[in-house]
Each structure stands twice: as structure tokens, then as C-alpha cells.
């Protein structure tokens, strides 16, 4: 009996299977190999993977859980496969999107042309929670605000990729892309055989090169780069240590740094050492108590002014959250057209803004079919899934929306695509999303061919966030089989850091 026995697509778009129950062409080899394993054999591999994750301490923390601060990272062994032509589309679409968003951020912190031309309503920007008027007029190196981005995509009923959310502040999860791959190659090595799975390891080299190029003038030769973490209790702390280790840079907390006369130093056993580039994983609000929240103990007083003076670089820059505000999201297609003169390659999910009186009326009349989201919450918090909510929950949300229309948006419930996930001794369809990671630098936007596929492990659930019962899958981007050798070569010349790695 195979682990796919009795598998049903239930009318959803399934990543692996066609509606007729046959595996899609790009999944065929994987399907055959997995079918050759008995459920018991597969379960052993699952246990092996779990043990590896546990001993390595690949974990995440859940806020509000007073017991185990860490939980093992739930990992589903069946990979998600993206064929080459789909990836091309995603790559072009995401590059276009991030390019436009960086232009948008530069504009709104300088001349505000797009606001004066009334393409985006000015009030939505200047009154957004994450807009930073304190940072108006400052010039980040290379005019780039977002260096590191993780965009959430979903596929709808007919398999169309749509952008659900741009994460432009401190997106996390890329460590799991790398860890998932490394575990899967150890636990199920044979399933990779002869499949043109493109490697993801060079993400780290790209990131390091991009961080280095941010170094202030005169410090380019050997810049000191650090990763600034809120500390061990942050939910993404594992990732911070992982990235610092992989990048070979110091992992620092705010208390390790200080600013003197607009220069940032870290406290070392041999005295102060100047810091040139900070990959910060602390939100704006907590970055510098002098400029932002004065009660923050996580940040570094004086950091923002040192940055403004160009004596240290930050990745990402300050104030990027205004562009991933869920209300501004609705305008991203227009933002792309405004700056690039192109049609958006990847569509948004249709979005209603409670801020707009006509939309507000529609939202309140259709609460039972819509998904309502708070504009500035993430991680699946502050959300109402209308069709699955109780009447009381809907009424409570209606009140909240009325009170602060600017803070809410609504979207139709998209029937997210599903992929098989292993549960107990067989596979069942579970909803998935896709988060590719983009890097923006002087030479434009780059994507590693890979992504985090998050999966809602609870049956029927649409919430893929790890804090709420989500897991993840390794995500394989396939090279074009015919010209694979050539493409590998190309990408290594483009990046220059391609590392040797299996298939």
C-alpha cells in the first residue's frame, strides 16, 4: 500500500495531482519513488527527520506559551515542486514588484510624487502606523530601502499565483528553506536522484555580498557586519543564530552596541570595535529609544542618527513597513504601473478597503464570505475568516471595523491550493502557500530558486503560520531539463558564489 492510497483532491487545486487523480508531469518521478516506500518505511524517515531537528534545536518560539519556550519546527517530508516555467513567471513578477516598492519607498520619503499625483491617497501613507516621518529626507545607501524581502504567494482555484502579502520589514523563514533542504537530502536522498532540483545554498553568499556592498564610504575594504537580534526570546531567534553562523558575522543584541559621536561600536573583550553594516531583525519601533519607542530596551540609542549620517548601514532600512501595510497593498498594482510603466505580472488578491465608504458597506454586508485582516498585524493574528467564524465573532469584527475603518481590509476567501502532507500513515491534502526570498542590491533583485512552502497542518485550516499550527515543506524549483547544465553554469556566473551541492 502506498502513502497516497485513498488520496482525495476534494475539488481543490492540488500541487501534486491533477483533477483526474494522476500526478502532474513534474511530480511523476517523485510520485513513483514515494510510492515505492511503505508507509512504515516513510514513517521511519519522518522520525529520523524529527530527531535531527530536535537534536539540532531547529525550533521556533511561540508567544504566549509559558511552558516550552521552543517548539520543534514541524516539517512535512513530501516536497513541493515548482516547474521551471512557473518559476520564471514568479521570478519576473517578484522582481518587478520589489523594484517598484523600493522606488515607492524612496519617493514617499522624499518628493512624494506618487502622492501628489494622487495615485495613492496621501492620507493612507502618512497616517500609516509604520510610516516614519522622522526619517523623511534621509538617504539610504543606493536608495534601496528593502534589501531583504519575503513575499507570500498563494494559488487560487485554477492554480493562478497571487501575491497575498509583501513582507518588507524583517521577514523570517529563510533559514528553514536551507535547513529543510539539508534535512531532506539526508533523510530521503534517493528521491532527489536525476531530478534537476536547483540548489539554494548560495542565498547566504548573495546576502553577504549585498550586506558588504552597503558599507559606508572608506569602510568598503573590510566592513564589520553584524546581525542585530532582539534576543533569545524572539520567535525567530533560531534563524538569527543560524544566519549569523552561516554568514560568519557576529550576532549582537542592542546591549552589545553603543553609539559615540554618531559612530556605532560593539563591545568586545579587546575594547570597542566599529560596526559598519547591521542586518537588523528588530522592528523600527524598538530600534532606537531616542527616536522611536523610548521604553524599548532592545535597541541602541543614537543608532538612527548614525544611520542617517551614513556612518552605518541598516538592512532593511527604516520605515519600510508602510509599503507592506495591507491597505497600501491594494495599491501595489498601481504603484508598479506608476513607476515602471508596466502591467503587474503577478496579480493581487482582490481587496476591499474599509477606509473607502463603498467598500465598507460591501464588507459589512458580506462578512460571512470574506476574510478580514487588520492592516498592521502579521503572523495570522487579528484576522477573521468569515465563512468559518461564529456570528459573535463576525459581529465583534463589524464593531472593530466601524471604529477604525483605516485599520481593516477584506478579501474573498481564496480556496488555497493544497498539497499532500503525511499524517500518521497516509497522505491528505493540506492548504499551502509559498514564500520566496528576494534580495535587492546595487545590481538589482535576485531570487534563489527555492522558497518556503508553509502548510496548514490542521485539517481544513487556512492558517499556515508556524505560530498557529503551520508546518513547512522543502520546495524544489526545477531547472529546464534540456538546458539544465547550461543554466547551472549561467547562474553560477551571475552570482559567482554558486556552491557545489548534489543535484
Amino acid at each position: 500500500m502506498s502513502i497516497f492510497a485513498g488520496y482525495q483532491t476534494d475539488g481543490f487545486f492540488d500541487e501534486m495531482f491533477q483533477a483526474d487523480g494522476q500526478p502532474r508531469p513534474h511530480y511523476r518521478k517523485l510520485y513513483q519513488r514515494l510510492c515505492a516506500m511503505s508507509p512504515e518505511e516513510f514513517r521511519q524517515r519522518v522520525r529520523l527527520a524529527e530527531l535531527t531537528l530536535f537534536n539540532q534545536g531547529v525550533t521556533f518560539a511561540v508567544y504566549g506559551d509559558k511552558h516550552g519556550v521552543e517548539k520543534p519546527w514541524p516539517f512535512d517530508l513530501i516536497p513541493r515542486i515548482i516547474p521551471a516555467e512557473e518559476w520564471d513567471l514568479l521570478e519576473r513578477g517578484l522582481t518587478q514588484r520589489l523594484t517598484a516598492l523600493n522606488l515607492f519607498l524612496y519617493d514617499i520619503y522624499h518628493e512624494q510624487k506618487i502622492l501628489r499625483d494622487r495615485v495613492v491617497p496621501r492620507e493612507l501613507v502618512v497616517n500609516a502606523a509604520h510610516y516614519r516621518p522622522e526619517f523623511h529626507g534621509a538617504d539610504p545607501p543606493g536608495k534601496i530601502y528593502v534589501h531583504i524581502c519575503g513575499t507570500d504567494l498563494i494559488r487560487d482555484a485554477d492554480g493562478t499565483y497571487r501575491v497575498l502579502e509583501d513582507n518588507l520589514r524583517t521577514p523570517s523563514g529563510v533559514s528553514y528553506v536551507l535547513e529543510n533542504r539539508s534535512i531532506l537530502t539526508r533523510v530521503l536522498p534517493h528521491v532527489f536522484r536525476d531530478l534537476p532540483v536547483r540548489p539554494v545554498d548560495h542565498y547566504i553568499s548573495h546576502l553577504l555580498a549585498n550586506l558588504r556592498e552597503l558599507a559606508p564610504r572608506g569602510r568598503e575594504a573590510d566592513p564589520t557586519i553584524v546581525l542585530l537580534t532582539p534576543g533569545v526570546y524572539n520567535s525567530a531567534y533560531f534563524e538569527h543564530t543560524f544566519l549569523a553562523q552561516q554568514l560568519g558575522i557576529e550576532l549582537v543584541e542592542g546591549r552589545d552596541l553603543f553609539v559615540d559621536d554618531n559612530i556605532v561600536y560593539m563591545k568586545t573583550t579587546r575594547g570597542p570595535q566599529r560596526v559598519d553594516v547591521i542586518y537588523r531583525r528588530i522592528d523600527d519601533d524598538f530600534l532606537d529609544p531616542l527616536v522611536f519607542r523610548p521604553d524599548s530596551l532592545l535597541g541602541v540609542p543614537g543608532l538612527v542618527n548614525a544611520y542617517r549620517a551614513g556612518n552605518v548601514a541598516l538592512a532593511n532600512s527604516i520605515g519600510t513597513g508602510v509599503a507592506d501595510d495591507k491597505v497600501v497593498y491594494a495599491y501595489v498594482p498601481r504603484i508598479i504601473e506608476y513607476y515602471l510603466g508596466e502591467k503587474p505580472i503577478l496579480p493581487n488578491v482582490d481587496t476591499y478597503l474599509a477606509w473607502n465608504p463603498e467598500h465598507l458597506k460591501y464588507i459589512l454586508e458580506h462578512l460571512d464570505t470574506l476574510v478580514v485582516k487588520a492592516a498592521n498585524e502579521s503572523g495570522g493574528y487579528g484576522m477573521l475568516i468569515g465563512p468559518q467564524a461564529t456570528r459573535e465573532e463576525r459581529e465583534e469584527f463589524a464593531r472593530k471595523i466601524h471604529a477604525q475603518p483605516r485599520n481593516y481590509i477584506a478579501q474573498p476567501l481564496v480556496p488555497l491550493s493544497r498539497a499532500p502532507a503525511f499524517v500518521g500513515d497516509h497522505c491528505e491534502g493540506r492548504h499551502v502557500d509559498l514564500r520566496p526570498y528576494l534580495l535587492a542590491g546595487k545590481n538589482g533583485v535576485t531570487l534563489v530558486p527555492g522558497a518556503l512552502t508553509r502548510v496548514a497542518l490542521r485539517k481544513g485550516s487556512y492558517v499556515v503560520n508556524s505560530s498557529q499550527g503551520g508546518g513547512s515543506k522543502d520546495t524544489w524549483v526545477l531547472a529546464r531539463e534540456t538546458c539544465m547544465a547550461q543554466q547551472m553554469q549561467e547562474s553560477s556566473t551571475v552570482t559567482g558564489y554558486q556552491t557545489e551541492k548534489g543535484e
Binding site: H136, D261, L290, G302
Partner: protein, 296 residues
Amino acid sequence: MRLRVYHTTRYLYPQPARESHNELRLMPRSDDDQTCLDFRLSITPQARIFAYDLPSGRVHHFNYRPPHNTLTIQAEALVVTHRSDPFYFLQLTTEDRAFYQLEGVRQRYAEFLAPTPRVPLVEDADRIAAIARRQAGASTASFLISLTRALYRVITYTPGATHVNTSLQQVLEKRQGVCQDFAHLMLAVCRRQGIPARYISGYLYTGQRHEETEAHLTAELPAPLVSGDAMHAWVECLMPDERWCGFDPTNNLLANDHYIKVHYGRDYNDVAPVRGVYHGPAEHTLEVSVRVVREA
């Protein structure tokens, strides 16, 4: 009018403070109404001073890391003010509310129409607006003059009645406050009426008897002008000619050439004259002295 400002801020710590970082918004603006000719800043103990510019004005900053028991910030400015007749531009009779409903206006000044943590748009503000409307002419300027007077009457200027974090609702309940409270309350009323309004921090020259100023709005018995021996705060509202006009509800005055603007913002948080963090004892003593003198 040539005015010279001496502004000293001194922090005294019971035990040594260290790692002190401060941002200063103390330098008067140069704009249509005034020109800052000279500005000097000195810090004791001595620290290197840096600066950057925001649309609202220049911000200075410095840090001092060694332990210290006192920190003194001295600012001296020479400013020439031009607005000798604040009524000169005001249109007092014609109805002009349509201007404030223009979508372009609402967008251009969106940040000065929105609530802030210190200026929630409380409903009680409408009652004050209604009182002001009753006694006002048709124009917005007339309404704002009336509103300035209404606030002056509703709230009693009481030094020490409130502190820096007193909420607007508490001020309304106590009907007492200092210039910051008057300004925040006026912002709330204006913004609820759809009139873009911004918080101004600055100095008021009080050396002259106020009866002589044409700006005095009421014929009632004169009270001495107050600026609280510290910086003063008032409000600027957007007029239908898209100029900003200053109103001082604490003194029931229009801002004339006795007023020196330092920074503007959405509320006090944007313009706090000294904002700092340090390691050390939580409690400290703050001494502020402000002197404004007229020069020939």
C-alpha cells in the same frame, strides 16, 4: 521685531547618569513669519553636537557617555519676526468651508487632520466647537478666533495641574491645564471640524504690556501673559489661502511678532524640545529657564 532668546535646560541626577543621548529641537525656524539670524548651542559637560534637517526644522543631537551628575543645555537665538499684524491676511466674513472639503486639501494635509496618541479626536471637542460657532461669524478665521477665546474661557491656566502625560480627556474633566493642554485641545477641535491644524513649540515675548498689542482679542480685563517660564505652545491652522495662521488659546491671542516658532508637528511628541535617554537613576530634577528680550 528683533528678539533674543536665552534658553537653559539643566538635568540634575541624584546619582551619576551615563550613556546620555539627546535630541534637541531648539532652533527657531526661518520662514515667512520670522528669520533666525543666529543660533548657538552649548552643552556642559562638553559634547560634540550634530544636526540634521526635517521639514519642520533643524534637529541637533549629541551624546555624553561618561558618568555625570548634571547636564546643561544652553541655547541662544537671535530672531527677527515679521508678522506685526496677524489680522492682515485674515478673511473674517465670507463663508469658506467648502475649501476644507476639497479632496486635494484633505490629502495634502492628511497628517494634520488625523488623531494622534496625544490628540484623540474626542467627541467632547464638538461641544466646544458648537460654543465657538455660536459666537463666530461665517468665516473659518472668525470661527478660530472664537474658538481660541472659548478655550481660554473653558480651561483655566493652572501651572502644575497637569503633567506631560495627562490625557486630553482628563484635561477636559479638570478644566485646568498648561499651554500644551490648550494646544492639544484646540488641535482636537479643529481636526474634528476638518480644519488642518498643527502643534507649534516656540517662545513668547512677554516683556511688553499686552494691551499694546493689536492682537489682543478681547476687551475683558487683562490678565498677564503666560508662557510658563519655559517654552510656549500654540496652534497653527490652515487658512483657505493655504497659509498657516497661529492661534494661542492659552493667552487668547493670535500669533503676532511676539511669537517665535521653533518646530511644528502633529502633537507635542513631534516637537519635544529635549528628548533623551540615559542609564542611571530614574528620578532627576529638571530646571528650565527661558528669557526673551527685545533688541533695538
